[in-house]
């Protein structure tokens, strides 16, 4: 991609046209110098729908798509990431891929190897880093504004993925709420605090009745405790967090951060009002993420999410799954992944070691 500049139209090929592909394609629409050129999905009707919205070509095969674009954007169920990363890398295309990088560490390693060999960037969509509230939380902690962090809560709950996302309920494929959903917070935790020493977990998994729920406790040798609530058993999507430190406290609840509510009189049940809450942003986090990826592909910026970090998030999520499955403490050794020094630096002073 060297030499390509912003005035060139970068042609994006979307592999997978499901739910998250919708967020990606909406983002491309707003990014100058980029065009969603082609879409391929095993379900042609889905490809057709997104392609029509963006004037893109529907491809009959992955190979056809890879031959017609400059960048591959993989929005497939997790187990299919590797095969498609390999194909894109072999075609010499930079790869954008949804999180989690792979369902296994072997998949992650193979994906990283393929992209390293092909000398193409591998950009994994840990989009929470681009949510302003989560990057602000990181800034506050790293800037020392709450002193030494002590107890951190991260809550990410969603309703059961519906019939359209049936693959989510195949645990082997998705890894359930811990692997697929909590991984967002696990990545944030690694990005902000580095690698924990151990994880403990409790959960309730009942895929037959489309229920999955988990409580995770992460501990660092410095004494930091992080607690994650992850759910596919709620009534809707919600996030909240709290970080308490030696010198302060910061808290956030998505349900309180609603700056606009428009109620339509008479539109609700029984003639009452119907409230439509909104939290508008000039730029969606998905757009901010993809703009960054495009700048990396154009070699205007260094990648803020490295493949090694995406691998480490998978590693931590797997440790959490093990902890929940066996109801035991799982200790984490040193990372075999390639977490770069830059994200390991900590401005935060860490607390005293555990006295026992």
């Amino acid at each position: 991609m060297a030499g390509r500049n912003a005035s060139d139209n970068l042609k994006i090929g979307l592999i997978g046209a499901g739910m998250i592909a919708g967020a990606h394609s909406a983002a491309y629409k707003n990014i100058p110098g980029v065009r969603l050129a082609a879409v391929w999905d095993a379900d042609a009707s889905r490809a057709q729908k997104i392609a029509a919205q963006h004037g893109a070509k529907v491809c009959a095969s992955r190979e056809e798509l890879l031959g017609n674009v400059d960048v591959a954007d993989i929005c497939l169920p997790t187990p299919f990431h590797l095969e498609n990363i390999r194909a894109a890398a072999a075609a010499g295309l930079p790869v954008i891929c949804e999180k989690p990088l792979g369902r296994t560490l072997a998949d992650c390693d193979a994906a990283i190897e393929a992209c390293t060999k092909a000398k193409v960037p591998l950009l994994v969509g840990h989009v929470v880093r681009f949510f302003p509230e989560y990057s602000a939380l990181r800034d506050i902690i790293q800037g020392g504004q709450i002193g030494e962090p002590a107890v951190i809560h991260l809550r990410r709950v969603v309703c059961s993925p519906g019939p359209a996302g049936a693959w989510y309920w195949n645990f082997e494929a998705s890894g359930g709420c811990v692997f697929d959903t909590a991984i967002h917070d696990l990545d944030w935790v690694l990005w902000t605090l580095g690698r924990p020493a151990s994880v403990y977990g409790l959960g309730h998994r009942d895929p037959a009745n489309t229920r999955d729920y988990a409580l995770l406790t992460l501990q660092w040798s410095s004494g930091i405790i992080a607690h994650l609530q992850s759910s596919w058993s709620h009534d809707g999507f919600a996030t909240s967090f709290e970080a308490a430190g030696s010198e302060g406290l910061v808290e956030y609840d998505m349900e309180d951060a609603v700056p606009l509510k428009v109620a339509k009189i008479g539109a609700g049940a029984g003639g009452g009002g119907k409230v439509v809450p909104e939290s508008p942003l000039a730029k969606s986090p998905y757009q901010a993420e993809i703009e960054h990826f495009i700048r990396v592909i154009r070699e205007e910026e260094k990648a803020r999410i490295t493949p090694g970090e995406a691998r480490e998030a998978v590693e931590l999520a797997l440790a959490c799954l093990e902890a929940v499955a066996d109801r035991k403490v799982v200790k984490l050794g040193k990372s075999k992944g390639s977490r770069p020094k830059a994200t390991e630096k900590k401005k935060v002073k860490l607390g005293a070691e555990h006295p026992e």
């Binding site: 002193g147 030494e148 002590a150 107890v151 809560h153 809550r155 151990s198 403990y200 977990g201 409790l202 959960g203 309730h204 009745n209 229920r211 729920y213 409580l215 406790t217 501990q219 004494g223 930091i224 405790i225 607690h227 609530q229 759910s231 058993s233 709620h234 009534d235 308490a244 430190g245 030696s246 010198e247 302060g248 406290l249 109801r327 035991k328 403490v329 607390g351 005293a352 555990h354 006295p355 026992e356």
Partner: protein, 339 residues
């Protein structure tokens, strides 16, 4: 007949709150026998404020044959005070935690049982409107079978004897585990079977200021498994800084097969900022049904029936606390009941 109440210590100022509640009960409901405190000056001061007498000896006060005694001494003294009441044939309402060890809690339960006097643990949360409504809705199956939930009982390091483990028995885990453990046992009608605890020591500025050279737990996240398989977490940390809008919270989020409940027990509040408060401050206007736990104590004594919140409830909560400390030491989950 009015119910005669003695107060054993005002080390915990909840005694003052309950005494005030008793004073607002219909005339003739309650009569104060007097106050004894290891700190005689405090006994005198409180006696003056509440219009009763201070006693220099606990036995002299108990010899006046009150029907019941409210124990608000330092945690480690609960046992001795309760045993004295049992011996004198006086019913007990003891501030939480019931005791600082399972052995002490058991001794208190047994002594009161043998003496035939009621023993209550002061778990007032059960009497707040939102908790009562939540229980009603769980019992009616509104959220289906409860799979688990996340709870918090955050607090602010209270200072004074709370910061001295020789008197308190421990820090945040001792102080702020028991309310929620009791609420969950009551809401679910089940017992806990396993505890894992991540505990932090001297993590917060207020603790560091209060403890001097001592080491005290002030951060804790407990993972709790209940009979039947429901899973819960509980943050009992003293993590509210002075600058925060209030002392702490009591929150319960329950996830069921048919619904989700989120309870914030003290959310009925105003937010006030003034030159008096310096910061944004909460003014809670939640109320308690039938004079709350104090009312329940009086009714228990008057009606001569077992209390709805018992010494055994206090014992069970104490067990979870002890298991939590053990778990933190081992770095492993610990099974209940403790062996």
């Amino acid at each position: 007949m009015s119910v005669k109440i003695a107060f054993l210590s005002f080390a915990h100022m909840h005694a003052n709150g309950w005494a005030r509640q008793m004073l607002t009960m219909p005339k003739g409901t309650v009569e104060f026998t007097g106050i004894w405190d290891r700190d005689l000056a405090r006994a005198k001061k409180m006696a003056k404020a509440l219009g009763t007498k201070a006693f220099a000896s606990r036995e002299a006060l108990l010899a006046k044959k009150p029907h019941g005694a409210v124990i608000c001494s330092e945690n480690v003294n609960h046992r001795e005070d309760a045993l004295a009441c049992a011996q004198a044939g006086v019913g007990v309402m003891c501030e939480k935690p019931l005791a600082t060890s399972v052995a002490d809690a058991r001794a208190m339960v047994e002594a009161c049982r043998n003496a035939g006097v009621p023993l209550m643990t002061a778990f007032p949360c059960r009497f707040y409107g939102p908790a009562l409504r939540l229980k009603e809705q769980i019992d009616a199956g509104e959220i289906g079978e409860v799979l688990g939930g996340v709870t918090t009982n955050h607090g602010r390091q209270p200072g004074s004897w709370f910061a001295n483990p020789k008197l308190s028995g421990g820090g945040a885990v001792t102080d702020h585990t028991v309310h929620i453990v009791d609420l969950l046992r009551w809401l679910m009608g089940r017992e806990f079977k396993r505890v894992y605890a991540a505990v932090g020591y001297n993590r917060f500025k207020l603790t560091r200021k209060a403890v001097g050279k001592r080491v005290l737990d002030d951060a804790g996240v407990l993972s709790l498994e209940m009979d039947g398989g429901a899973v819960f977490s509980l943050d009992c940390s003293w993590s509210r800084p002075e600058e925060y809008s209030t002392w702490g919270d009591a929150k319960v989020e329950l996830v069921g097969t048919k619904g989700v409940a989120r309870m914030d027990l003290f959310r009925q509040r105003l937010l006030l900022a003034s030159s008096g408060t310096k910061r944004l401050a909460e003014r809670c206007w939640a109320d308690e049904k039938d004079f709350g736990i104090a009312g329940e104590f009086i009714r228990t004594l008057r009606e001569g029936r077992p209390p709805s919140v018992s010494g055994v409830d206090g014992l069970r909560a104490t067990e979870v606390v002890e298991a939590a400390y053990r778990s933190a030491q081992l770095g492993e989950p610990v099974a209940l009941p403790l062996s």
